[in-house]
C-alpha cells in the first residue's frame, strides 16, 4: 500500500479509530491491532511475502530468548551468527543472487571458461533491506547485552512489522522503538497534530516535488544522448530533488503517522542539502542507515582508530557496503566509492567533524563562506547522484561526459519547459521552507506556530491545494526497490 494512494487514505482513519476507540484500554490489544494492520498494509502489495516477515520475526524472537538464557560465549556467538545468516540469507537470495551469478559468469568468461548457470526470476520483497536491518539490530544489541530480550511476542511482532516504517524505514533501533510497545500509548493532542503536520509536509515533498521532478529526471536520463550539457545538468538537478523529496517525504509521512499512534521515531533526514561538507551530508542523509552502519560495522571494524591505512580501509568498506545495500548494481557500488573519495580529504585532514551544528544557527542568512561550502557540497552530491540514478556505470559515464561538454553553458532545450519552470519554483518554495525550519525536526514543524490562527490554517490549506493541483501519476517510492 502506498502512502500517496486512496487505499491508504481509507486505511489510516480506520486503523486510527480502531486503535484509539476500541483498543485504547488494553496494551495487548493495541499491539495486536498494529500487527494486524501492518500485515494488511504489507499484504496489500503481496501477501505471499508476509511469510518472510513472520519467519524473520519468529527466528529473531527465539534467538533473543535463547541469548538471554545462554551464558556460554561460543554458543552465544553461534546464535548471533544464526540470526545474521537467516536475515542476510534472505536478503542475499532475494536481492543479490542474480547480481553475483551474472558477475561470476562474466568473470569466468573473461578467463575463457564458460559457466552454465541461469538467472532466477526473483521478485524483490518490498522493504526487505529495511526490516532485515531492523531485526538484526535487535539480535546484535541483545548479544551485546545492551538490550533485554523481549518475551512479549506480540510486541516484538509489532516492532518488526510496524507499518509506518516497515517498507522504507526509518530503520529503527530496537533500543528506541521496542520499549515503546511495552507501555500503553495515550492520546496526546499536540503529538497527533504535529504528526499530521509532518504528514502534510511529507506529502508535499513526495507528490509535488518528487513526482514532478521524476517526470523530467526520467526524460533526461532515459534519453541522455538527445540533450546537451545544460539539459543533462538540469536532469541531474531534478533527480537530486526527486530522490530527496521521495525518500525524506516518505520518512516524514512514516514519522508523522507513527506520532498519530503515539510513537516517536528518530529523525531520518536533517536537511542534508544544507550541508557544508560531505561528512556533514552523511550525518544528515538517511541517518538511520548511516548510524546503523556506523554502530554495527564501522566501529566493530575499528572505526577511526588505528593508522591512516586502517581509517581509509574502513571508510571505503562502509561507503561501498552502504552503496551496495541500495541495490544489486555496480552503479550503487561506484556511488558509494565516489562518496568515500569525497570523504577522504576530510578524514585525512581531521576535518570530518568540523561542521557538526546547524548552518547559520540562530541567524536568518548564512555567511558567504557557508554558502560557498553548501554550494560546492551540493554540486558534488549532484554528480554522485548520476551514478545512483543511471542504469549502468557506462550510462552514468556517458551522462557525465554529456554534462561536461561544450553545451554546458547553453540554454537547455527540451519539451514542456513551462512545467519545468513551475517545478523549479516549487523547489524554491521547498528550499525556503526547509531553510527556515532547518533547526527543527522537519521543515514545517515550527513554521507558523506563532502566526495568527487564520493565517496558519490558510498556509496549510495552501499546501493542500498545491498537493491537489500538482498531483501526477501515482508513483511508487524509489526506496521501495531497496
Amino acid at each position: 500500500m502506498l502512502f500517496n494512494s486512496i487505499d491508504f487514505a481509507i486505511f489510516l482513519p480506520i486503523v486510527f479509530i480502531l486503535y484509539w476507540f476500541f483498543c485504547h484500554k488494553n496494551l495487548k490489544l493495541q499491539n495486536l491491532l498494529i500487527v494486524v494492520a501492518s500485515y494488511v498494509f504489507y499484504g496489500w502489495w503481496d501477501w505471499r511475502f508476509l511469510s518472510l516477515i513472520v519467519f524473520s520475526t519468529v527466528v529473531d524472537y527465539s534467538i533473543g530468548i535463547a541469548l538471554s538464557r545462554e551464558e556460554n560465549k561460543k554458543k552465544r556467538i553461534l546464535f548471533l551468527w544464526l540470526s545474521i545468516m537467516v536475515n542476510l540469507g534472505f536478503l542475499g537470495f532475494f536481492k543479490y543472487y542474480n547480481f553475483f551469478l551474472d558477475n561470476l559468469i562474466t568473470a569466468f568468461t573473461f578467463f575463457g571458461i564458460k559457466l552454465h548457470a541461469s538467472s532466477l526470476k526473483v521478485i524483490l520483497p518490498v522493504g526487505i533491506s529495511f526490516y532485515t536491518f531492523q531485526t538484526l539490530s535487535y539480535t546484535i544489541d541483545v548479544y551485546r547485552k545492551k538490550l533485554t530480550p523481549t518475551k512479549d511476542f506480540i510486541a516484538f511482532s509489532a516492532f518488526v512489522s510496524f507499518f509506518p516504517q516497515l517498507v522504507a524505514g526509518p530503520i529503527e533501533r530496537a533500543t528506541n522503538l521496542l520499549p515503546q510497545f511495552y507501555t500503553k500509548r495515550k492520546f496526546e493532542y499536540n503529538k497527533a497534530v504535529d504528526g499530521l503536520r509532518q504528514i502534510l509536509w511529507g506529502m508535499f515533498k513526495k507528490v509535488v516535488i518528487a513526482d514532478n521532478c521524476a517526470e523530467f529526471a526520467n526524460e533526461f536520463f532515459n534519453n541522455h544522448t538527445e540533450y546537451g550539457g545544460s539539459g543533462l545538468l538540469l536532469g541531474a538537478l531534478f533527480f537530486t530533488f526527486q530522490i530527496y523529496g521521495d525518500f525524506s517525504g516518505y520518512s516524514d509521512i512514516a514519522i508523522g503517522t507513527s506520532r498519530l499512534f503515539g510513537f516517536n521515531l528518530k529523525q531520518n533526514f536533517a536537511f542534508p542539502y544544507f550541508s557544508r561538507d560531505i561528512a556533514e551530508f552523511w550525518r544528515r542523509w538517511h541517518i538511520s542507515l548511516s548510524t546503523w552502519f556506523r554502530d554495527y560495522l564501522y566501529i566493530p571494524l575499528g572505526g577511526s582508530r588505528g593508522g591512516t591505512t586502517m581509517k581509509v580501509r574502513n571508510t571505503f568498506i562502509i561507503f561501498i557496503i552502504s552503496g551496495f545495500w541500495h541495490g544489486a548494481n555496480w552503479t550503487f557500488i561506484v556511488w558509494g566509492a565516489l562518496n568515500a573519495f569525497y570523504f577522504l580529504p576530510l578524514l585525512l585532514t581531521n576535518k570530518n567533524r568540523s561542521n557538526i551544528g546547524t548552518v547559520a544557527e540562530g541567524r536568518l542568512l548564512a555567511s558567504s563562506k557557508d554558502i560557498l561550502n553548501i554550494t560546492s557540497t551540493f554540486l558534488l552530491t549532484i554528480l554522485a547522484w548520476v551514478f545512483f540514478r543511471a542504469d549502468s556505470v557506462n550510462h552514468a559515464l556517458e551522462y557525465l561526459a554529456g554534462i561536461f561538454s561544450n553545451s554546458l553553458f547553453s540554454v537547455p532545450s527540451f519539451e514542456n519547459r513551462a512545467h519545468a519552470a513551475e517545478v523549479l519554483i516549487l523547489i524554491g518554495f521547498l528550499i525556503i521552507i526547509e531553510w527556515l525550519g532547518r533547526e527543527s525536526q522537519y521543515g514545517l514543524e515550527k513554521l507558523g506556530l506563532n502566526w495568527k490562527r487564520s493565517l496558519r490554517i490558510a498556509f496549510y490549506l495552501g499546501i493542500v491545494c498545491l498537493i491537489f493541483l500538482f498531483v501526477g501519476k501515482e508513483q511508487e517510492f524509489i526506496y521501495f526497490q531497496f
Partner: protein, 314 residues
C-alpha cells in the same frame, strides 16, 4: 481526542470546500468563457490523429481547417467536434481520419491511459458529459483523479492569463521537413504500434459512431478518410480486421481511401506520416477531387482510385 477529531473534521471540510471551489469555479469560468471559434470562411473540418495532422495541409484545401491532434482518440475527437460545431455553424463538411490503428485496442490506452488523459482533459473536461466521465472512471479511476487535478491547474493558469481561445491549441496541420524513412529502413525498424492479437477497441469505434451521429444530427456531411501511408507501415497488418469493421459497422458512411497513393521516401516523415512534400501533393490532389464534385459523386472511391493511379504513374 474530541478536540482533535473536531478540529481535523473542520480542517478536512475546509479542504473539501476550498478544493471544490477551485474545481467548480475554474470549471464554470472555462465553460462560460472558452471559445472554439474558427475563421468564418471555414466550411470543412478535418479531425483525427497524427496521420491526418501531417497529411492535410489546410492552407491548400480550400475553406478548411485541420484540427487533428497527435495521439488523440475518437473519445477526445468527439468532444472537440461538439465544441467546434457548436461554435461554428458555418461548418458543412467533416472529414474524420479512419485508419488501421484506430480500430485497434491500443486506442483504449489513448482514451483512458494516464498520458493522454492528463493532457487532453485540460481542453475537454469542462464540456464532457457524465457518460464520458463514467467511462474514464470505470477504466482508470486513479489516473482520472490525477489527470483532473492537472486539468484544474491548467484551467487556473488559463483564467489568470485570460486566454480562452481554445481553437488555437487543440489541433493543427503539422508542417515538417524531416524524413526518416531511409534511416528506418536501413535500421530495419518496422515496429508496429498496434496489438499483436489485432484485438479491437469497442470504445473507439463507439465514439466514431457518436461523431457520425452528431454530425448528421446537425445536418453536416461526414466522411471518413484514410490518408496515404508508406507500404512498409507495420500497422497495415490488421487490414482484414480494418476492412471487416468498415463493412460491418460503417457501411452507411463513405470512406475516402487514399492508402494506395505512393510517394518517394523523401515525401514521408516516417512510415506512418507524410512530411510537407507528401502533404502538399496529397492535399492538392484531394482538393482537386473535391473541386470536381467528388463529395457528391456516386462513385467516390472509383474517382479516387483513378486519380491515385494517375498520380502514381507520374
Amino acid at each position: 481526542m474530541k478536540t482533535f477529531l473536531k478540529k481535523i473534521t473542520v480542517f478536512l471540510l475546509l479542504v473539501v470546500l476550498v478544493v471544490t471551489l477551485i474545481v467548480v469555479g475554474s470549471d464554470f469560468i472555462i465553460k462560460s468563457q472558452s471559445k472554439f471559434t474558427v475563421n468564418k470562411d471555414v466550411t470543412k473540418l478535418i479531425l483525427g490523429h497524427s496521420h491526418s495532422q501531417c497529411s492535410i495541409n489546410d492552407s491548400i484545401l480550400k475553406k478548411s481547417i485541420n484540427l487533428s491532434a497527435s495521439g488523440e482518440s475518437y473519445f477526445y475527437n468527439y468532444q472537440k467536434l461538439k465544441k467546434i460545431i457548436g461554435d461554428n455553424p458555418q461548418i458543412q463538411t467533416v472529414f474524420i481520419e479512419f485508419t488501421n490503428n484506430q480500430v485497434d485496442s491500443v486506442m483504449d490506452d489513448w482514451t483512458w491511459g494516464y498520458e493522454k488523459m492528463s493532457f487532453y482533459l485540460q481542453y475537454y473536461s469542462s464540456f464532457m458529459d457524465s457518460e464520458d466521465f463514467n467511462l474514464l472512471l470505470k477504466h482508470n479511476s486513479t489516473d482520472l483523479f490525477a489527470s483532473y487535478s492537472i486539468a484544474t491547474r491548467k484551467h487556473v493558469y488559463r483564467i489568470v492569463k485570460g486566454d480562452y481561445n481554445l481553437a488555437d491549441e487543440i489541433g493543427n496541420y503539422m508542417y515538417t521537413k524531416q524524413s526518416k524513412v531511409e534511416e528506418l529502413i536501413s535500421n530495419n525498424n518496422f515496429n508496429s504500434s498496434i496489438s499483436e492479437s489485432h484485438s479491437i477497441s469497442e470504445t473507439n469505434i463507439q465514439y466514431l459512431r457518436k461523431m457520425i451521429k452528431y454530425c448528421r444530427g446537425n445536418s453536416i456531411e461526414v466522411f471518413l478518410i484514410r490518408s496515404p501511408q508508406h507500404p512498409l507501415y507495420a500497422d497495415l497488418s490488421n487490414e482484414d480486421v480494418y476492412q471487416n469493421i468498415l463493412k460491418t459497422r460503417f457501411d452507411d458512411v463513405d470512406l475516402l481511401d487514399f492508402n494506395g497513393m505512393k510517394f518517394p521516401n523523401s515525401n514521408y516523415l516516417d512510415l506512418r506520416h507524410l512530411n510537407y512534400k507528401g502533404a502538399n501533393k496529397f492535399t492538392t490532389l484531394f482538393d482537386n477531387l473535391i473541386e470536381n464534385n467528388l463529395l457528391y459523386s456516386a462513385n467516390k472511391q472509383f474517382l479516387i482510385d483513378e486519380a491515385v493511379r494517375n498520380f502514381n504513374k507520374k
